[in-house]
Symmetry: C2
Subunit: 398 residues, 2 copies
């Protein structure tokens, strides 16, 4: 075997996703690209805000000494300072530059965090459905994911989380607004979750961390207020990415923010800076660090995503699909009319509609629609969604 | 313990480096920054070529749809195409875009490679002295480094490498031009090393890869020709970074190049693309991918580093220091006049000279001087180098 056994296993497990991707390509050839409606990827289609573009051209045209050189592995102090000031207002907790570590996006931030915290066999509680890459990230650090289903409306099942704790539990990893469900956890939920963590810390005499993956932090609708995790939980670590709020996922820029009263803060910070280096990130890209320092608080027009959500939800509701309306993100997690979500996703494919089966998110019986697409794509795909559902309903009533 | 036991161990082991760094800061306060000569870091001081700046401002001012969006995890096909064309000429092996994977620098490239190839307990042969981060990279992937000393002139000891092979050996990791020694391995050495790999592949009935870390590829002096690893070795993987050739280490841009006839190429490529994603890199920064696609073959003025090398080597030689003159990089690995290189580095510190002890590179009894600094820094530091040596010689003759 040329690659490691683990990677070989991952490659074969992921091969059906690759197969569907290849089928998608074939579909474009067969139906013509104008008849293929791709809802499979969370690649933001709303353009970056003009403030981003302005900051980028300004920074790119500067000529500073050592402008593209190594900086401290945690990032430029000015950038970390600007973020800390912004978050102090937003999170209602006094953060300083030393509580911020610049990372290559949220994926980098999470890998750094897990590598810092986990010994082999340590457990991380993850509510499902979930962004399935978490499982790889935990495994990279030698940890074990403990998957805990959410309730029917995708809100946290706090009793199930409480029961999932063991003496090996090192962290709970949440993602709100959630990919793939679009659910936002409210303040009361976060407070209760924090109480559970404290209870278990007393029981096991060991710090348990709440890791909150927040790349969709700004993408919330209907005036919903996203609660500040830090306001409610002392042992909280936020993994953030600018990918979605600025529509720049290709640039790999994000950060880790640590609660100023985090258990043994110094060691965790030191470990994270070390891990950022030894995992091979070294530091977050220099140029983007300088760009985002100038545009804290700037974000894409979230109204665009809300319009797309409404268009899609109304359309699918009218056809007879059932789902929990998302509070945020640009994902809709729809109940599959048949138990076999992979089969249903394939049926949609026959009408040129590309979605992702729920099994890919630990949520079988559902499928995910990423609606970060043109409005026209949603409008043109609705008849196909309706016909596919009709087909299954007819076959059932026969 | 708040951080993992492994990270805790690493933090305490690296604490003397941190301590020396802190001492360096104190030194600046004590002596004044103008009297501190910092040769400790490999942070290039020659400015990026103007072609880089021009390409950057051009790319930054473009407005393409999805300009900062996700691209395929392996990178933009155009960028990979441009690199393949450049390397085909340089390496004398016909590379296509699919043999190139864009990475977050060479550190990212090496972590991706090792994660792809190693099962727990697999061994990687590494000649010493070496860039000590390799040990972390191998460990991240669950592997075991097998350190093999080089000869007195820092050329490869091929017999020692042959003897270090076991049935668990998965790869040999070389770095030429070498950090910290500046040594370049010649064509004959690479050919013989490749023969050893083939011999061991036959013996153990298993592919063994030559991983060549080449961030200093262009930084060679005296018209020395760096041999093409790919020309001599079929199972070769090149990890490259633009950090040094363009003086942009903060931007995290590099690539992996795989020999077109690599053993089970498809699986290795697939594994690497998967690992680039699951390790949290996702993809190399988008903007820099577009920049470097336009300036293949462009590099900093290497003559500047050669001038610095000559200035330093002549100066230290005149004082009585002994070393093997480097063929490339911007490092000089000097024999410590006393066995305890840490003590000697501390003695230099007393005269405001910051260097790195050889133990930090698996080369005790030496110290490293990174001469990517102003000429004036070298000139002003030479008396301090001379006085420190004199002091030790006097104390010995007493």
């Amino acid at each position: 075997m040329p690659v490691s056994q683990k990677i070989h296993g991952m490659l074969s497990r992921s091969s059906w996703i690759r197969k569907m991707f290849e089928e998608g390509l074939l579909l474009r050839k067969k139906l013509g690209p104008e008849n293929v409606f791709d809802f499979s990827l969370g690649n933001p289609n709303v353009p970056p805000p003009c403030e981003f573009k302005n900051a980028l051209t300004e920074v790119a045209s500067q000529s500073l000494p050592g402008q593209h050189a190594y900086m401290p592995n945690a990032g430029y102090p000015e950038t970390r300072e600007a973020i800390a000031a912004h978050l102090t207002q937003k999170f209602k907790v006094p953060l300083k530059f030393e509580h911020i570590i610049m990372t290559c996006g949220a994926a980098g931030a999470l890998n750094v965090t897990l590598k810092t915290l986990l010994d082999a066999g340590d457990e991380v509680i993850i509510p499902t459905p979930y962004f399935v890459e978490y499982e790889f990230y935990v495994d990279n650090a030698g940890g074990v994911p403990r998957l805990v289903p959410t309730k029917k409306d995708f809100s946290l099942d706090l009793e199930a989380i409480r029961s999932a704790f063991t003496e090996r539990t090192r962290a709970v990893l949440i993602n709100s607004p959630n990919n793939p469900t679009g659910r936002v956890y409210d303040a009361e939920t976060i407070k209760e979750l924090s109480d559970i963590l404290e209870e278990k810390e007393r029981l096991y005499q060991r710090a348990v961390y709440l890791i909150s993956d927040e790349p969709y932090n700004e993408i919330v609708y209907d005036g919903i207020a996203l609660p500040s995790i830090m306001e409610y939980c002392r042992n909280s670590i936020i993994a953030y990415s600018y990918s979605k709020c600025l529509s720049v996922p290709g640039e790999r820029i994000g950060y880790l923010a640590l609660h100023p009263e985090l258990a043994e803060l110094e060691d965790v910070l030191g470990g994270m800076i070390l891990c950022n280096r030894i995992l091979g990130f070294i530091n977050a890209p220099a140029l983007m660090q300088r760009v985002i320092a100038r545009i804290q608080g700037v974000q894409v027009n979230v109204g665009e995503y809300q319009r797309k959500r409404d268009l899609l939800c109304e359309g699918l509701s009218a056809c007879g699909y059932s789902f929990a309306k998302p509070d945020g993100t640009f994902y809709l997690f729809v109940r599959s009319p048949i138990a076999d979500d992979v089969a249903y996703v394939r049926a949609l494919q026959q009408r040129g509609i590309l979605t992702t089966p729920g099994v890919g998110f630990g949520g079988p019986g559902y499928f995910r629609i990423a609606y970060c697409v043109e409005d026209a794509t949603i409008i043109k795909a609705l008849p196909g969604f309706a016909e596919t559902l009709q087909e299954y309903q007819n076959s059932r009533s026969v």
